[in-house]
Symmetry: C2
Subunit: 258 residues, 2 copies
DNA sequence: CCACGCATACTTGTATGCAAGAACACAAAT
DNA sequence: ATTTGTGTTCTTGCATACAAGTATGCGTGG
């Protein structure tokens, strides 16, 4: 059961709201990796019709958060090592290049704005909850992209970042708390490198900053290997020709009780 | 008028076919930047219903090839310098990083496969038309991504590359022919750098290889500045409150003759 | 006990109807 | 001549009905 029947605040469009709802449910494991969902069931739950639900599902499929098997079903994408590595590659490459470019282009006003971000982040360290903290984190990284002159690249980074966040969040709910202070400290070093106008240094700091997620995927794989497994029914994407091989289990979760 | 009523060969789904048809029409300027399109008109032309047309339009909007203004209309995205620069940034960063990584990881079998690509490309130089030549070009770049261990990153590059291709194709149809031989030669140098196992050299060669598009956008901007202009009717995305400022011109192309 | 056939209840893909809003055309008033 | 109101027709967003395909459950026959 996903959260609420669409009472989310800034109502842009039903489709957008449904997208955010499902995406959030996937990220916080309300919808577990490998579980099956259905357009009709989601439409009932969210109080919308199939059309906007379907549009959201197609967006999420392009985000690689869902797999749609026509006439068979739709499953939440299991965590995947290759996907994680690709996402890391994209984020690392783009953000390091942006940090270097920002170090080349940044003027005094830009550096001042970066420092404001760091100050706000430091203040949030004490009082804010995690979600707002990470929102500030995203804002800081976006600011660097903006200084580099390519703000719209941030959306590409975000699309990749989801797959890193999935691992981080899943690991977070099971393991210890997340150390937030080092993040702000690394941001401070990043600003220093950008202010100094040293592109290589900025890229190196950014690389170290981002690389800290890398070990989490291995830890999570040990903690909860089932999050990485595709349900056996859908593993055979190439249908065996009436072969009785994949008999036994059922696809539908049979949740009529909803 | 877009090409044919959906007779394209490998019929995956209506939605997919419509997507490819519109995308192709945008790329080859059958649909000119800034022109308005409509779900109903496209559905009639392509012999489909609105649903798959709508799905295709939404994909193309996420590709930034269309702008959808609810209740007002949908326009083909004009060429845009910022979009071009962002796309170049994404492609350059990812492909240079991939080339460097490929230089680190490539084994003899990988190098052999790369050489096969170059040989096939050389052969195509004499006989093949441009579209198959560029298909081989894409295959080569994908192979590098594969060797780097992140094949799925290629889809990200492709999404950005569209905006570079738009400029190249638009410039191609108006200006002289495209010199193809240097491309293959640069690929050869790239393979040499990867075979030598020198990441920095591979990245440098890749950078020079990709950077050749950069000057085209300026040339095209001089040749056909109208391709870069958003129709004035939709420039005001924030509606002036019943202000008669934007009066005069009309939005709808009024092509009832179709 | 096992294999096969069939009915049934699901799935997603597609078509279509309706609603809300925006822009144009035109007539009327100032 | 300019403005203003109004109706028509366009636009996209959403809801819903239908079509095609798939997996399950059960009965039947072996």
């Amino acid at each position: 059961m996903i959260a609420t029947p669409l009472q989310t605040p800034a109502s842009a469009s039903v489709s957008e709201e449904v997208y955010r709802a499902i995406r959030g449910a996937i990220l916080d494991l309300t919808l577990e990796p490998g579980s099956t969902i259905s357009e009709n069931a989601l439409a009932r739950e969210l109080g919308a019709s199939r059309t906007p639900v379907r549009e959201a599902i197609q967006r999420l499929e392009r985000d690689r958060l869902l797999f749609v098997f026509p006439q068979r079903g739709t499953v939440v994408a299991p965590l995947d090592l290759d996907e994680f590595r690709s996402a890391y590659f994209v984020r690392s490459s783009l953000e390091c290049a942006a940090a270097a470019e920002a170090a080349r282009l940044a003027g005094p006003a830009d550096v001042a704005r970066l420092r404001q971000h760091v100050d706000a982040h430091t203040a949030a360290l004490a009082v804010a909850d995690e979600s707002t903290f990470f929102a500030l984190n995203d804002a800081f990284h976006l600011e660097i992209m903006t200084i580099a002159g390519v703000p719209s690249v941030w959306s590409v980074v975000q699309n990749a970042k989801v797959h890193l966040d999935r691992v981080r969040i899943a690991h977070l709910t099971r393991a210890s708390t997340y150390p937030l202070a080092p993040i702000v400290e690394e941001h401070r070093q990043l600003v220093a490198a950008i202010a100094a106008g040293t592109p290589d240094e900025a890229a190196a700091v950014m690389h170290a900053h981002i690389a800290k997620v890398l070990h989490r995927v291995d830890l999570l794989r040990d903690l909860r290997p089932e999050l990485f497994e595709m349900p056996r029914e859908l593993t055979a994407q190439i249908r065996t020709i009436s072969g009785p091989a994949a008999a036994g289990r059922r696809l539908h979760s049979n949740d009529k009780s909803q």
